[in-house]
């Protein structure tokens, strides 16, 4: 009987081993462990054994059942795993096919530059002031120390609507308006971005409409060295930490002293290249100390208050930064142009 059991175990294990799907395995289970299976039959035949032999044989039968059971489970796990793998293999896709595109637009490059500059100055405690594009001659010129008949008015041929109303030629009138609102009390700390207009023919370097950002700080004890420090800070944040700036004396009717501000070339680092025309410097800004006439006209005591102002052109900065060669691109809205500014 013992031999019979060992033989059954041997047979069962072999059949389990040979089963190559879950159904075959189940057949083995039914065949050997089922109610009508040979092991049950052996158990039934135990009645013929002596009382001493019975427990021994019972234990042996259990061992055999246990061994077959374990083999069945192990095989079942293996077969199930194989089944899953087969299914997954059938589900494979071509991961190199293109994904479902996400449509995404982006800022106009000028807005990109303007927002960057705005954020930079907001970080230094400035607020953003806006004002009308159609302006009174008074705010556009007279309040900025450009009385009627001033020779410097030639410098900016303007689009007049009536004798007293024109399209602003710079965003400086916003400065004049803001100062006036402060009623002679500082501090004033603003930047003024916006559209401006000049009577120019549109070509690669001129546009009758363009943008400007101007800044203004008025307070007691504002020094020209503060202007230099502020603009150096700006240049470094905008164009890189190792940038330097230099002032060149210049003339604007609304500031005195007036300077042009160069930033060391961010392309060559100052050694000279075609971006900086070999000079190592790039002209970026006009700036100066607010002219006392401008302060007084806006209601500030020029003996008590001083201030600085600066202005720059986002078009120029964008052209330098991105290597754009024609100012008209900014206003044609060619998507092949606009789409190039779609990432960090």
């Amino acid at each position: 009987m013992k031999e019979r059991l060992q033989q059954l175990q041997q047979e069962a294990l072999e059949k389990i081993e040979q089963a190559n799907d879950l159904k075959a395995l189940n057949d083995v289970r039914v065949a050997y462990l089922g109610k009508k299976g040979p092991i049950t039959e052996v158990l039934r035949g135990m009645g013929a054994l002596s009382p001493e032999e019975r427990p021994i044989m019972g234990a042996l039968v259990n061992d055999v059942r246990e061994a077959i059971q374990q083999a069945l489970e192990a095989k079942q796990a293996t077969l199930e795993q194989a089944e899953v793998e087969k299914k997954l293999a059938a589900e494979a896709i071509d991961v190199t096919l293109p994904g479902r595109p996400i449509r995404r637009g982006n800022h106009h490059p000028l807005t990109r530059v303007i927002e960057e500059i705005e954020d930079l100055f907001i970080g230094m405690g400035y607020t953003i002031a806006e004002g009308p594009e159609v302006e009174q001659d008074y705010y556009n010129f007279e309040a900025l120390n450009l009385p009627k008949g001033h020779p410097a008015r030639d410098m900016q041929d303007s689009f007049y609507i009536t004798e007293e109303i024109l399209l602003r030629t710079h965003t400086s009138p916003v400065q004049a308006r803001t100062m006036e609102k402060h009623q002679g009390r500082g501090p004033v700390k603003i930047i003024c971005p916006g559209k401006v207009y000049r009577r120019d023919n549109d070509d690669a370097t001129h546009s009758h409409q363009f943008t400007q950002i101007e800044g203004l700080v008025v307070d007691e004890n504002i020094r020209m060295s503060d202007l230099k420090g502020t603009l150096r800070e700006f240049a470094r944040k905008m164009f890189g930490e190792d940038r330097d700036i230099r002032f060149r004396p210049s003339f604007f009717p609304f500031t005195e002293p007036s300077v042009e501000v160069d930033v060391s070339c961010f392309n060559c680092g100052g050694h000279g290249c075609n971006v900086c025309k070999g000079t190592g410097w790039i002209e970026i800004l006009g700036a100066g100390m607010v002219h006392p006439n401008v302060l007084e006209m806006a209601g500030f005591d020029s003996k008590k208050y001083t201030g600085f102002a600066f202005g720059m052109g986002p078009e120029r900065i964008a052209m330098l930064k991105y290597g754009i060669d024609d100012i008209r691109h900014f206003y044609q809205n060619d998507l092949r142009f606009l789409q190039q500014f779609n990432r960090v």
Binding site: N106, T111, E133, R223, K228, R248, N333, L335
Partner: protein, 804 residues
Amino acid sequence: MFVSYKWLQEYVDLTGITAKQLADRITKAGIEVESVEVRNKGVQGVVIGHVLEREQHPNADKLSKCLVDIGEGEPVQIICGAPNVAKGQKVAVAKVGAVLPGNFKIKRAKLRGEESNGMICSLQELGVESKLVPKEYADGIFVFPSDAPVGADALELLYLDDEVLELSLTPNRADCLSMIGVAYEVAAILGRSVKLPTIELHENNENVHDYISVRVDAQEDNPLYAGRIVKNVKIGPSPLWMQARLMAAGIRPHNNVVDITNYILLEYGQPLHAFDYDRLGSNEIVVRRAKKGETIVTLDDVERTLTEEHLVITNGKEPVALAGVMGGANSEVCDETVNVFIEAAYFNGATIRQAVKDHGLRSESSTRFEKGIDPARTKEALDRAAALMAEYAGGEVVGGVVEANTLQLKDVVVTITLDRINRVLGTTITKEEVAGILTNLQFTFTEDNGTFTITVPSRRRDIAIEEDIIEEVARLYGYDHLPATLPIGEANPGKLTPYQAKRRKVRRYLEDAGLFQAITYSLTNEAKATMFALETAEPIRLALPMSEERSVLRQSLVPHLLEAASYNRARQVENVALYEIGSVYLANGENELPNEKERLAGVLTGVWHAHLWQGEKKAVDFYVVKGILDGLFALLGLENRVEYKQAKREHLHPGRTAEILLDHKTIGFVGQLHPNVQKQFDLKETYVFELDLEALLNVEVDDIRYTAIPRFPSITRDIALVVDEHVVAGELQKAIIEAGGELLKDVSIFDVYKGDRLPEGKKSIAFSLRYYDPERTLTDEEVTNVHEQVIKAVEQQFGATLRG
């Protein structure tokens, strides 16, 4: 202003400073030197030769055979093609071995059988621009004065070994429109002194008043008018050095009298005019405003009609010059002129500017008057001109000056403390440094305990207040020495206004939704100005537009966005989605600023979404655009306050346009372009929208308040309603929400059907209704009760039936 480096040395010592270095120093101190032109264009080996003999070339009509003494060895034979070569002339000779511009080497040669040992040169051949060559030598060789030393370097005599600095002057530095002015500037920069020209004037014992009188009837336009008579002049060429200097400065030499007036203009910055005294037509000069319709023929032979705004010099009867701009042809100095009346005047800049503008005539003279000359030097310049005419035109200066002078010259005195200078600049400049700078500028000053009292020289008319002095100190001290600091004082945090912050969010939202930001022009044409406008007003026209296309301010952003779409389509970019935020301009009446209103507009056309290999392709349609706008309103917290109302608007599809209302007020529209407009802009099916951005962003919105997350299950019921086809979904939905009451939380549309399975004129809309009570689990019965009410309501209001 062109500044000859060689000529400048007449007034200031430039030892040890090259032209290039000088240019850099001048630029650094505030006047931009745009270029330094080397006048020698590669010429070498050109000397003064003396034409000893000239005869016809035996084998060529147009050639001359010359024997020329070039100051070394035997005279040489040179074949010359110039028509004006003649025996006895002093000429420029390029010797054998010489080089002319373009690396043209002169070799010994045979021309038509005759030997030629060099070349007699015209000025053009030496690299002088044609427009500067004296007219009489324009088509031939240049003839030097007879005293030109044989063998001398011709380049040196012609100032072709010179370098010329081109100054780009800002309007405040009119003082540098003269060599003397530039000399003062350079002297201040270099810390050297200025040598002024010495004037040796010998007057005869006649009295100028016996020759001429002067009266000014327009004293505001002409506060100073002075003149001298130089008699018995001989018109001829001016001295070579003068011609050379004029050419270096960009002025063509004419004759001695005219050249002298031009020379003084350049030297002193004082424009002069020389009249032929005998052709003046009277013995008086009257300066007055022109009469309307009066005419004058100016030197350029153009007849000009004048108005009361123009100032004229007259002989008491008729104009003889357009004051400060150009002389009259009738009194012009010519070869036969014997007696000259020299005018030196100070004219008001604005008056001259008016004439320049009206006649489109700008001259070296008018430029200087416009920018302002130094009236303190007017008479000195006159004396110098008279002295030079005596010396170089053989004239005789009649005793005395005629003048009409109402000018009141007052010294400008500025007082400033050292402390103020340092406080404005943020520097620690010493008293001694400031004194040094003022001394170099040749400003007269006294200093007392750090207070400077400065008398400003009349040539520096740009200096009148403390800040002007601060600027002088700063630029000569050097901005490189300025420290870099940051403002001290209270620091307020910077931030965007709520409007600015929301506007940025709107931009980002639209871009993330797939639209690109456009920026278009504010100026448009009359027809496009009011197209699509949400509100219209009288168009605002420019007084002087540059073109009709850019002559009127826009009242809507849509037309230019359509142009942008069209521009892209013409370049094979068919799928366009653009938005713009910008101002429109609505007139407010004459002499009032217009209302500028910020609008948000967009244009969409072509394919909206495509994932082709998966079979997805969706063209832009009304609902794509509406979905984007819905998202925008949701972003702004306005989704429940905005409505769309079917509308008809000009230029839009009558059945596919909606007006958008916020709190029941129209704030915009969205719709498909009318086929006619579509064609006009050369577009395919296109959708546009425009919104009043200010209305959207300025409206008060509640802050976000948390509401409890649902704890109980909700129950969803779907209904399909059959209604007349003209019933709109929005109305139906509104009725459902009203009837559903508190428990009805969501209503969404999941199907719209029209077709064979329904009777003619009917459509079905299927809604999904979700019921929920935050306090408890709803029973089926409760939901059924409410749902029945909903169905009853739509049956009553719309005659809706449930679709079976």
